[in-house]
């Protein structure tokens, strides 16, 4: 077998593929062959590296050179310079936004320095379509160990002692869930993997399935053994075609390898996995809705109890875990509960994957130890706020979470701390806002999503969220009064208090948390009719300064609704009634004569 001197890892995640990642792979292979280096250089298509801000990513092994924003045209140069001549292609290196220095080795990048990759251990490292690479990374050894050396109870004990909690949002102790399902007597039990990732901006589950599908299959089989079930179902949204494709390949390979199917490791344990596709309804991430959907019923939740552990799919005991939760399992089995529980905080062990998005320099996917502060995540890993603007807030937990502010930056992130401060972990979305963001509009944005995604089963969520949205809309239009604010708060509290499922029980969080943390901003909208961030169109006016305007007429020519009048070389005026506040005039004005008031 040829021994490769170098591996070139190319990100094959959905994001980088969309930016011609496939062509990069092809061109690199071509360049390797043009230089007759086939026996020395291996080009590998891996899962996501997480640094999506600067994708497509190409990583050179073994020197760890991290090339960013690579195009297919760069392939030749990477081979001829880096491989043949040993010279790094400097223009493709990452530049630190703080000190403008180029960094070649990914280990030296702020983005990676503080990360601990457990769930993402194989993402961006192995070829997800090659089970050999997974096996070489200790793949399926945890399953082997559990099946041959442990009773289900012993394995569950490890998971319990590790302190692992559900990564999908609720944070329920995983080992306890397994134990409950294990203890329910039934001949037929199901293991369900919840891959119905739906938080806006979150894509950790997709990345894991695209980058390391076998880890989830292995964990599901371990779970099956622990709870006494031999059927695995992965509920995945149909909008994840690449993840589906990779899962299908992985399932096929695992069956061929004998780690799925009958009599696994000769122990008599049978386990197999099938895929179920969801249509992308957010509420189907809630486990009872997910099960209804898998049974062909309307995707809406049931009142719990009974919990799926007792009565789930087809009325049978069903253990539902999220993708990221499963991805942690094999490592915990291999490295032990103590190793895992040494990471994190007292009640939140291990790591958490977050999707950084919004006004942050390093948009992407990161995995950090529980207990890290928001400041470290946003400024050290995330590289701070875009364009040097001021940090204003960060929304964690997606539409179910809340907005945290400057004063929360040094709180150690874990399940309980986030809830204590009016937000939640959720599936790990983190959307960063800067000084230009209007917090009422932010809340409205999330409510718009919730209104769209409510299933309509319970009244408070079905009607209440709609009314919340309408009241926020009224505020952003300057039409609300002070009484509306107390009605809004009461409504938010009642929706939380009375809704049937997690969606409605958390949907007012964006409103309530922004009301708590940015009360002055709400009041400015209501009392003064002003949007401090200058975002709410109805509350702003474009004005031309008579002193500064030279009467060049450029603004009046660019105005799409002829709202600007004035003679040549005379100061112009905007008719605020006609003006649609598109901002085109301000953009065009060369004399900074137009401002928003």
């Amino acid at each position: 077998m040829a021994k490769y001197n170098s591996h070139i890892l190319v990100c094959g995640g959905t994001g980088c593929r969309a930016s011609q990642g496939e062509e990069i792979v092809e061109n690199l292979k071509q360049a390797v062959s043009d230089n007759s280096l086939e026996s020395e250089i291996q080009v590998v298509r891996t899962g996501c590296f997480g640094f999506c801000e600067k994708g497509p990513i190409v990583k050179m092994i073994p020197d760890n050179t991290f090339y960013t924003q690579v195009t297919p045209e760069d392939a030749g140069e990477i081979i001829s310079e880096h491989i043949v001549k040993g010279r790094k292609v400097e223009r493709l290196l990452y530049t630190d936004p703080e000190n403008k220095e180029q960094i070649a080795d990914s280990k030296d990048m702020g983005f990676y320095k503080k990360q601990i990759r457990i769930a993402l251990r194989n993402c961006g490292f192995i070829n997800p379509e090659n089970v050999d690479e997974y096996v070489a990374r200790d793949g399926y050894s945890a399953l082997g160990k559990v099946l041959t050396e442990m009773t289900p109870e012993e394995a569950i004990k490890i998971i319990k002692e590790s302190g692992l909690r559900g990564r999908g949002g609720g944070g329920f102790p995983t080992g306890l869930k397994w134990e409950i399902t294990n203890q329910v007597e039934n001949e037929e039990k199901y293991v369900v993997c919840n891959a119905d990732e739906g938080d806006p901006g979150a894509f950790m589950d997709r990345s894991i399935l695209e980058g390391d599908p076998h880890s989830v299959l292995e964990a599901m089989a371990i779970c099956g053994y622990c709870i006494g079930g031999s059927h695995g179902l992965i509920y995945i949204r149909a909008e994840y075609p690449l993840a589906i494709e990779r899962l299908k390949i992985a399932i096929e390979q695992a069956r061929n390898l004998g780690v799925l199917g009958k009599n696994i490791f000769g122990t008599g344990f049978d386990f197999d996995v099938e895929l179920r596709y969801g249509a992308g309804a957010f509420v189907c991430g809630e486990e009872t809705s997910l099960i209804n959907s898998m049974e062909g019923l309307r995707g809406e939740p049931n009142v719990k109890p009974p919990f799926p552990s007792v009565s789930g799919y087809k009325g049978k005991p069903t253990n539902v875990n999220n993708v990221e939760t499963f991805a942690n399992i094999p490592v915990i089995i291999n490295n032990g509960a103590e190793w895992f529980s040494a990471i994190g905080t007292e009640k939140s062990k291990g790591t958490k994957v977050f999707a950084l998005a919004g006004k942050i320099n390093n948009v992407g996917l990161i995995e950090v130890p529980m207990g890290i502060t928001l400041r470290e995540v946003i400024f050290d890993i995330g590289g701070g706020i875009k364009d040097g603007k001021k940090f204003k807030a960060v929304q964690t937990g997606g539409p179910s979470g809340g907005c945290l502010t400057e004063k929360h930056l040094d709180i150690p992130i874990d399940y309980d701390n986030l809830i204590a401060h009016g937000s939640m972990m959720g599936s790990g979305g983190m959307i960063v806002m800067d000084e230009d963001d209007c917090m009422v509009s932010v809340a409205k944005f999330y409510l718009d999503f919730t209104v769209e995604e409510s299933c309509g089963k319970c009244a408070p969520c079905r009607v209440g969220n709609k009314r919340l949205y309408e009241m926020l809309d009224k505020i952003t239009q300057g039409k609300a009064n002070k009484e509306d604010l107390s009605i809004l708060r009461n409504l938010g509290n009642v929706i939380k208090d009375t809704s049937l499922c997690g969606l409605g029980q958390t949907s007012p969080n964006p409103v309530l948390s922004t009301m708590d943390n940015f009360a002055d901003e709400y009041e400015a909208h209501v009392k003064d009719g002003k949007c401090p961030a200058g975002q709410c169109k109805d509350l702003m006016e474009y004005v031309i300064s008579a002193e500064t305007c030279v009467g060049c007429t450029l603004c009046s020519r660019v105005c799409p609704v002829d709202a600007i009048s004035g003679d040549k070389k005379q100061a112009h005026v905007i008719d605020t009634v006609t003006c649609i506040k598109c901002g085109a005039c301000m953009e065009k004005c060369k004399f900074n004569a137009i401002s928003i008031q």
Binding site: D63, G86, E90, K107, S141, L147, N256, F265
Partner: protein, 136 residues
Amino acid sequence: MAKVKTLDDLKKMREQLQSKITLREKSDHPEKMVQIKVSMATCGIASGAKETMNYLIEELDNRAIDAVVTQTGCMGYCHSEPTIEVHVPGTDPVVYGNVDTKKAEEIIAKHIVGGELVDGIIPASYKTANEDDNEK
């Protein structure tokens, strides 16, 4: 693909497959192992740096020494090509000149395994490859 029937099957399979990714695993923790950088500028290539590099990789592997061999650009010692920098954990990096395969074997045997310096070190005023790079 042969079916894995027992845990031992899996372990054997893993051992066989390990080499597929050791390079990547090593690159995760290069500071824990021997790092060798081979100068691969035009002069280096012309004087046989490629052969030296391949030899180093092969030999280190044969001796089961955990090492990372990477190429680097011109170190500026064109008079002594091929040049390599050897960095054994816990010691200072050392640059050797005129490293052909014979010299390379000696460096592995004496410096890396034995821990004693070998002839051919480029004098004390050298700059290490790192300082020459732009990455610092």
